[in-house]
Amino acid sequence: MRLVRAEALKLVRRRGLMVWSFLLTVGAVLIAEIVLVTLHAVNPAKHGPAGGASNLEHFAFLLAGLGNVAAIIIGATAGTQDVSNGVFRDLVVTGRKRAALFNARVLGALLVFLPLLALGFAVAVGGSFLFAGNLPHPTAADIAKYIEYAVAICGVDIVLAVGLAAFASSRVVVGVLIAWNAIVSHLLIAIGSLGGSRKLIDVAAAEHFAPRHAVGSTIAMSTAAALLVLAGWTVVFLQAGRFWTNRMDA
């Protein structure tokens, strides 16, 4: 746990990283809510209330999309900062196992990211009740579903980023994962001739948990299958990162 806290310390002391991560999670939801509240206040006839179940769905989608970018940036930073700052060798010469150092990066990144995601979600849920007006409130099932979605897409990506960061610089990791999530995976999902093999794409599995309006673009699969695919990607990237961290010259 001391190693994990140390990893978190390294991350939270990066002012730029924390500001951007806050903006991409809590900030994005806050801004969206402020815009919707303002529009409703200016022209209630044209713009409905800023809260309610339907707006929470939008906020959840926004939070997962932008929070995912924050997750990748935090994961890539956690995965590379020891090596890029030349400190990795100083940790290795303590005699601590390299696998333990790698595991601490993953947990440290989650320790920093998940509270931001939770806070962003709390703001979204709070706003959906506070500004619901005449719209129906979200149900507990809705909220649980959106949390699953955000955690599935962001939680998995933070682990992928840390794993991939054992092999590449943080910029490369961020570029590759954002390109994969935003473009490449969706192109592959759109290729019908790939058939059922598209279920193996992590983004397709994460979208199984997506809010209703995005469901049309997803590949149909069971929750168990989606979880299995996400677990598979996580395990593969963790093992690869751990393997390379063990093997590399420090």
Binding site: A6, R13, Q81, N85, R89, D90, V92, V93, R96
Partner: protein, 306 residues
């Protein structure tokens, strides 16, 4: 005498090139041990191999009496090391950087941080970000990072690099203080003079091989005897001595000459030769070879043999 580092036929190859080649090294406990060699001789590679940062191609290593890499964690728990220049997270303070490493060490390590910072004179700057530190301060913070392990053995790679004269003096005092506390300090350097001033024992390495190892005095004594000569006419003296094959080398030094004497040439005979040549001699002083001269003599002999 107890040994803290022992290697047997240690070899590290990068492709066809042997960075260290069959090294048998013995470092006794409780001394400052200089690992001396020119740049590219294999000093850092040996240190990296000792610490498990890179794998040896072949050979055996024992650290603090524990075989490596089998008992790596146990041995490294009592080793503090700076490999190449000390590196830190620049966005963290000095104290936070030590906390990061303390988290990877035993539970008592964090409690040693304040003392370690005071010891290296960084108590007042401990809460400043490392990116504002000078190179000398980083070197000292690197030492503090070693000290939080309460090490029996400190391995310092070129610890004088980049330090100003005051910093070098301070580092020398720190190293001697560690030895006085019963710790062993293994330091690599290409600064012969510094090793001679700081260390009790030395190993000279060249092109991945240890040429000689032992006490500093003992190794320096292996150098050829030299003689400092002050005369009224250096050129005439040079001419007079050049014909004697037992005078191996004649160099100008200040207003006089430094002679490297071969075996069997008494100093009195040098004096006689000069006087007979009409040269007035005002000083004849036998000089102890420095480690530097011995090192150069040893390495130039090696080059001559190739």
């Amino acid at each position: 005498m107890e040994t803290v580092i022992e290697t047997t036929a240690l070899t590290k190859r990068f492709g066809d090139r042997a960075a260290i080649d069959g090294v048998d090294l013995t470092v006794p406990a409780g001394v400052a041990f200089g690992f001396l060699g020119p740049n590219g001789a294999g000093k850092t590679t040996l240190i990296r191999t000792l610490l498990g940062l890179t794998r040896a191609t072949s050979g055996e290593i024992s650290l603090l009496g524990l075989p490596q890499p089998a008992k790596r964690a146990e041995a490294l728990a009592r080793v503090g090391a700076i490999v190449e220049e000390p590196k830190f997270h620049p966005h963290l303070t000095g104290r936070e950087n030590l906390k990061i490493v303390a988290a990877a060490r035993d539970r008592a390590a964090e409690s040693r941080i304040p003392d370690a910072l005071e010891r290296v004179g960084l108590g007042q700057r401990a809460n400043d970000r490392v990116k504002t530190y000078s190179l000398g301060m980083r070197q000292r913070l690197g030492i503090a990072r070693c000290l939080i392990a309460d090490p029996a053995l400190l391995i310092l790679d070129e610890p004088m690099n980049g330090l100003d004269p005051a910093g070098i003096l301070e580092m020398r005092h720190l190293i001697r203080a560690f030895v006085a506390e019963g710790r062993t300090v293994f330091l690599s350097s290409h600064l012969l003079d510094e090793v001679e001033r700081t260390c009790d024992h030395v190993a000279i390495v060249d092109r991945g091989r240890i040429i000689v190892q032992g006490g500093v005095e003992e190794i320096a004594a292996r150098g050829d005897p030299t003689l400092l000569v002050e005369v009224d006419n250096a050129e005439a003296a040079r001419r007079a001595l050049a014909s004697d094959s037992r005078v191996e080398k004649i160099e100008e030094e200040g207003s006089g000459l430094r002679l490297t004497l071969g075996d069997g040439l008494p100093i009195a005979e040098v004096n006689r030769t000069l006087v007979q040549a009409g040269v007035a001699v005002s000083r004849l002083e036998p000089a102890r070879a420095t480690l530097e001269e011995t090192f150069l003599a040893i390495t130039s002999r090696l080059e001559g043999n190739e």
